[in-house]
Amino acid sequence: MRIPEIVRKIVVKYDVKRKWYRFSRSSLSKVGLVIALVSVFLALAAPYVTPYPKHAGLVTNFKDKFEPPNLSYLFGTDEIGRDVLSRTIFGFQYSLMMAAVVLALVVPPGVISGLIAGYYRGTWIDTVIMRISDVFIAVPPLVLALSIAAVLTPSLFNAMMAVSLMWWPWYTRLTYNAASGLRNEYFVQASEVMGVSPLRIIFGEILPNCLGPILTKITLDVGWVILLGSALSYVGLGAQPPTPDLGTMVANGGNYMPDAWWISIFPAIAISIIILGFNLLGDGIRDIFVEEAR
């Protein structure tokens, strides 16, 4: 099979082969990549790959309620007879969507404010931005997210808003540390001397050199956002039933423990596996950039 020219160009330009080599040296990174890809695939294809797609919603099937895991219901059924396997796979949709939305909302403001604060290190701009971000970091993230979600009305959308509101300062800090370290590098000073505008220096010179830690954090954060989101819905401040959200399912199953353990345990393990996958993947991505920095 011929490889299209454009693909080859990209491979050469971004040195994909070497990056892949660094990434793939650890087999754990590959495991992470596989878990991440499989969970994204399952989320996208949920209506086609699940045995009972209708069970994602509010369907009752009382004749099969509380079935333990068996051949027709691999993960068993819940209190109104819905297939736990199907609901768990649909749960991936909500978890991954939450991660995608939250990260899309927090990465741009966090990175931009961090870059600006880092570039103007030591001035009042730095002080204002970093002190504001300190305020959000002054409380454990979960507590602040829970409180914001509670003040708004509990729903999946508001949970995403709550998580986003307390998440951006971490990107500000990360980017600030990277950017303020680069601030006095010769290539930045050279651009300044040549009269390049601050905007251009920030985005053209400093940003590309901060991408490593930022990309690593984004990957790791997919797992952490999913974790926080599931904790919110476990408490009852996130997605509301009958949404097949993993945290909600675990909480609901808790009412039928220990006899119908499968209602809780399978979604719970599914959350852990997704988080594990993105953690391993994030470590692999870190390997790519750490080596490059040497």
Partner: protein, 341 residues
């Protein structure tokens, strides 16, 4: 820079963040749609009563004035009145916070002890099987959300193995000793009830373990990598070549500098313990601060939520200052760095 100046500077930062936090949570509770006076009065109260409450709670004043009244009350130890528990939030906090703190304290003890033991073993036998086991477990441990961990523990240790009580704080038939400190473990010791003390401790083991396991494994990994990194340094080779016993080299020379990054992370872990206690207390039905918190949150008690965030913010801030001081004490380089050199 002298340690005392460093401490003052850190404290200054924290006070600043707490003021910011108070403004943040205050505005959070005020920007919401809805009439707080109406909510306080209840849906069936007449207009006059609502007006009266509005005056009484100062909702008719401009926002900045309300803020200053509120802060003034805070500084006098008055966190406001809860519409859910129908009493002063200060009283609620004083009742529920100590039981949470004792759980968190036990978890912290487990975490530090476990991390030290596992980290030193993994560092001593790096790249051998004990190290690999700790590594695999730490990946898995970090990835399991704490409420999942709690549920798994409950399923395994209480329902299947029946080693620990399922939930709650005391077995049936035992009475909570009279409140002195609010911490049941201490109170039972003061009352001289060893049986109650043991019973509470027995109820605490599982939640505390579920609470700290993830952080413990993570800290163990950090101690381990610090040790592996420092192992190749010249001063260790010198100590070894002088014929010092391995035990002495390990604990006296290798461990101390390797602990510094771990102590920093443990500071963050305090935050994790405080937050995760919310979930663990829910699973194990532990009558603590988090139970109060969840009740307030699910019932949308604004005064309560605001007070809760602030109380946790203060505890967290104090804990962080303490950790910073310990780190600065352990590592003089940090003190020097703050001076900007």
């Amino acid at each position: 820079m002298r340690l005392s100046i460093y401490v003052l500077k850190r404290t200054g930062y924290i006070v600043f963040s707490l003021i910011g936090l108070s403004i943040l949570v205050f505005s959070l509770a005020r920007v919401l749609p809805g009439d707080p006076a109406r909510m306080a009065a209840g849906p069936r109260a007449s207009e006059e009563v609502v007006e009266q409450i509005r005056k009484q709670l100062r909702f008719d004043r401009p926002l900045y004035e309300q803020y200053f009244y509120w802060v003034n009350d805070l500084l006098h130890g008055d966190l406001g009145y809860s519409l859910v528990t129908r009493r002063s939030i200060t009283a609620d906090v004083l009742e529920y916070l100590p039981t949470s703190l004792e759980l968190i304290f036990l978890a912290a003890v487990f975490e530090v002890a476990g991390a030290l033991i596992l980290g030193v073993i993994a560092g001593r036998y790096s790249y051998k099987w004990p190290d690999n086991i700790v590594r695999v477990f730490s990946y898995v441990g970090i990835s399991i959300p704490v409420f999942v961990m709690a549920i798994l523990f409950q399923l395994l240790f209480t329902w299947n193995l029946k080693l620990f009580p399922t939930s709650g704080m005391l077995s049936q038939g035992l009475e909570r000793p009279s409140v002195v400190t609010g911490m049941v473990t201490l109170d039972s010791l003061i009352a001289g009830r060893i049986d109650v003390f043991g019973n509470v401790l027995w109820h605490m083991v599982l939640p505390a373990m579920a609470l700290c396991l993830g952080g413990m494994l993570q800290d163990a990994r950090i101690i381990r990598s610090g040790m592996v990194e420092n192992k190749d340094k010249d001063y260790i080779s010198m100590a070894t070549s002088q014929g010092l016993p391995e035990r002495q080299v390990m604990f006296k020379y290798l461990l101390k500098p390797s602990l510094i990054p771990a102590v920093t992370v443990m500071g963050l872990d305090i935050a994790a313990l405080m937050a995760n206690a919310f979930l663990v207390e829910m699973v194990f039905n532990w009558p603590g601060f988090s139970k109060l918190g969840i009740t307030l949150m699910l019932n949308k008690d604004l005064n309560g939520i605001v007070a809760l965030v602030l109380v946790l913010g203060v505890i967290y801030a104090v804990a962080n200052v303490v950790v910073d001081i310990i780190v600065a004490y352990l590592d003089p380089r940090i003190r020097l760095m703050e001076r900007g050199e």
